[in-house]
Symmetry: D2
Subunit: 335 residues, 4 copies
């Protein structure tokens, strides 16, 4: 952390500040220039409130120079993390695709979709049992029954399953679910992050609608700080002023996250755009810019899907897509 | 809901769509123009997926014409709601100010601040016991002990208390807290919204960082749909591209929310800006644009506050502010 | 345009409004439902102020159902437009790459770069002569001398050239420049749009930092309405709350623009991210999601570039990139 | 500017960088800590490309510690600037209100409105002659004829006039207009900024839709660097994800700009919200948070205004507003 003092700061006031910082257990390096004086703090600056320092009379600005995320930071862990989800590997040279319906609706539906996406090459099955909906009047998911139907589909196909949890109190129902999803709206539900941090189970963490990359990585840090380092990040679009699409898919975040962290990063092109015909181009683009996998909504009858039918691919469109995704991945793979 | 068909849609396809809509229990009014055909749906359209209709070959666009919020909608409840929090009234002609520290730190601290803000005219005491922090390494609050200290301060001063809850599992600790705060990051924690909707206790709902007014009102609707209509809304800044301030305080949302809903709306100028010297002008501006109250951070020793000291007023600055706020309120009051 | 009346609107007031609308030369279709009355207007509604109608006492909301862009609208011109820039074709099955330095600095520099990028497969040369800079104290470009150096590089290599114009008064200098670029900050400089609309010369129109797709298309419409239909759109990143990158590249805008318009759409991955090592992944992603071309910054000595060196590729990195771009393009091409 | 080196940077590489920086004419202060080495640069760092330094292998981050704006910076000019516009003073203790129609439409209209707003206390008259419109098919203003009508209204009432210029080529028409307005879309039309910087005439500079405060101040700097220091800033709303209003009025920018610059800052509540009934509360709020004036749209017949009727006040509503504005200003005035 670096403190820039205002021009003309009296030496006495400057020395009082230096003493106060040293009193917090930090070393101070002073650079006195012609127009500016800088105080560089060395040591653990996490106890220092940057904003508060900036409010002092003699302080012009305060600059933070260390990343607040540690466990997820590639600087301290240069190699890609490989996360194993019941045999399916994420990270490194792997590129698994997760597919399935937005909501689990019936045994017939989920088993049929699971078989179809497996045949096309999907490695995991997704399906919502607890559904976060903006309106209390919308379908909220089959809940425990939905999870049970996912287990049946897993048994029929062998595909590991991932489903979203919406609160700490529902976690016991997820004991044998292969991967737990934390949705975008819960990315900063810190109680939930801490609770899954105590589990020994992979977590798919979706980026919040308005979260910076730093906040995204700090939420992963919450889980890892609890002892659970099996975190997979998922970019799914951010909120902007855009007019024609639900969200703005931030694909440049993929290579940037690869610089910042060793955790795998996958993309959800279905929620990002909300429009089925944009799923294909954005899935291809994700593979082209070094994503570590995809999670895609597939429904065998989009017209009658209980939610988000508009963004679901048919099994045929999914089958057509996955081949091209794999070809592009092989051309673009991070060197 | 209105469906605009593409030019040149064959009559047969159009009639199929009309039949399908009528099959969902809705009445259809058709307007056939020279270049456009419109289908107006009358009835409960909540079962219709707008996005899905837009994906149909023959559909150009779909327009939603009814508000999705019902219980909070001023159209169906024209008079201002008055929410009583242990004798302190919000809404209508009232203008209560809530004040207190970001975090409860000690008995001495919270009691001293409570006495000071009461003397200046504050009607309720705020204080964080459970603290949502971006980093797992930051101070997380005194938790149950913090709530206990708030109770002591209430006993000493008679001020009702409000504190933030971060998860359903912590709710039992809040049984005798006068008002429960749902923080910005939990505005769409639907499990938590449903849980407080089952209580008979006022809820202070803060606007999410990236939430539209419609989403904000839908989150209030979650609480009200559970039977608890004692909801107070709080504008506290949204996330934009801004450079010098933490958030962008959206003050025009206050009169706009008054148009849309009968619920009281207060403003938090402290979190909105993150800078103590901006609290005064933004508090005055809030009073000028018809807010129903304020929630302001006050700390007796901002330099040593455990969090957010930079945005806290001293008791002296608060005392100075509150008089001018009341004068401005009296000039500006909604006519 | 559809007007939704408030519940309980008196018939007399409703009929007055209908008469007023008919007085503007429009046909009105009325749908009277149990709770809502809709007025559908048929005809040229461009004379009607939507916002004003919404302010009437009896009006609940007004919905616009036609696109405001006509000449660029794919509905009225289903086939891709092919724009010919001195023999280089954009649109349809073509995928030209434009490359060159941010700023033209010297004859030696621009000729060397032009030869290098041509050898790698670039089809056009870019180079800034007039530079829009946030600060008046930054390098503003070589201006007319820079254009002259571009002409020399064109003569040496045969590559057509594109360069940015910053105002109507500079247009005479661009007479023999093959394509004129309108930069992001001038996307709504309507005087400039009208002026290039009167030319018979291709225009590269960059998307404004905060412009919606509708506004982007309306700016293209300004140029086309003047008679110049040779417009190529360029996505180059939008402004969001993002922390690590200069802008957020909105790649989903590419397939969405293809739905809305017949004009070609290319991508500038250099300005979008501001970071050289992100240019490769985002160029590949652009090719994967059906962009019609790329414009990429290449500099032979990024450390000493006069501006934007940080986002420039070396000729070697560009050479390495362009092969993979073409492979991906061939896999992903719109079917 | 401060360079933070990566941990483990070899001394040789570090010294090469130090030599390179010194070669640019800067002094370097090195702080070697246990885990971090900082290089503080002292001198004129405007020649250094921050982004480029950040791309070097050995550099972790680069922090800029000086403001890029000089002439507008309050640090170097602590007293408020007072700008005199034909006798009307902006800045310091003054609070002039500018009022008038969005567009000048006829002599009768502009004279009637001018007389009405003068009677209510307005000190200047606004009126658009050149209109920036998103669509080329919308009314574009009366142009030179509109300016002539403004001159007539000035003669009739004595009110100085302000009108928007859209390009350098139109400036000669503005010779005797009292203040020139640069609209939000032209805030970074650098040619236009330079041109008005060469005039000896007050400029009303509106904040761009997506401009940060730093960019806003840098655009003012362009004008001032040309020799024209008569710049008045105008906050008029920024673009966000908001749903019910046209823009988000960023009122906290007012006190923040007062910290950063000595230039006067006024507010345009009409364009910020786009809704007449929000103009009153936002005008009051502007006065409450230390704005230096207001610019408000007033039309004597909003239903038939050629543009933006929806956001215009009637003369009666304006008269009612202005008294309360002045009362609030007197309570809230910066101490």
């Amino acid at each position: 952390m670096i403190v820039v003092l205002k021009p003309g700061t009296p030496e006495q006031k400057r020395d009082q500040l230096v003493s106060w910082i040293e009193g917090q257990g930090l070393e101070v390096h002073m650079s006195v220039g012609k127009t500016q004086t800088l105080l560089g703090m060395v040591g653990d600056t996490s106890c220092i409130d940057k904003d508060l320092l900036e409010c002092l009379d003699i302080v012009d600005t305060v600059k933070v120079v260390t990343d607040p995320f540690k466990l997820g930071n590639r600087k301290f862990h240069p190699a890609d993390s490989i996360i194993d989800v019941s045999g399916v590997k994420f990270g490194g040279d792997n590129f698994p695709v997760i597919a399935g319906p937005c909501s689990v609706e019936s045994e017939e539906q989920i088993v049929a979709i699971a078989k179809a996406v497996k045949a096309s090459g999907a490695r995991m099955l997704r399906g919502g049992a607890f559904k976060p909906r903006t309106s209390p009047y919308d379908f909220q998911g089959l809940k425990a029954d939905g999870l049970e139907l996912l287990r049946i589909a897993r048994k029929e196909t062998g595909l590991p399953i991932v489903s979203e949890v919406m609160g700490v109190e529902d976690l016991p129902l997820f004991e044998d679910i292969d991967m737990i999803q934390i949705g975008a709206r819960n990315m900063q539900n810190f109680n939930l992050l801490k609770a899954v941090g105590r589990l020994n189970k992979p977590v798919l963490l979706k980026r919040g609608l308005a979260s910076t990359l730093k906040e995204f990585l700090m939420s992963a840090e919450y889980i890892m700080a609890g002892g659970n380092t099996n975190v997979i990040l998922c970019e799914r679009g951010i909120r902007t002023f855009g007019d024609y699409m639900r969200n703005t898919l931030d694909l440049a975040a993929i290579p940037m996250l690869h610089k910042l962290t060793h955790l795998p990063v996958i993309v959800d092109p279905s929620h990002a755009t909300g429009i089925a015909e944009l799923v294909r181009p954005m899935a291809l683009a994700s593979a082209a810019c070094s994503a570590d996998g995809l999670i895609i909504e597939v429904h065998n009858d989009p017209m009658h899907a209980k939610c988000d039918g508009a963004q679901s691919l048919t099994p045929e469109a999914f089958d057509d897509l996955i081949k091209d995704v794999m070809t592009i991945r092989s051309v673009a793979v991070r060197k």
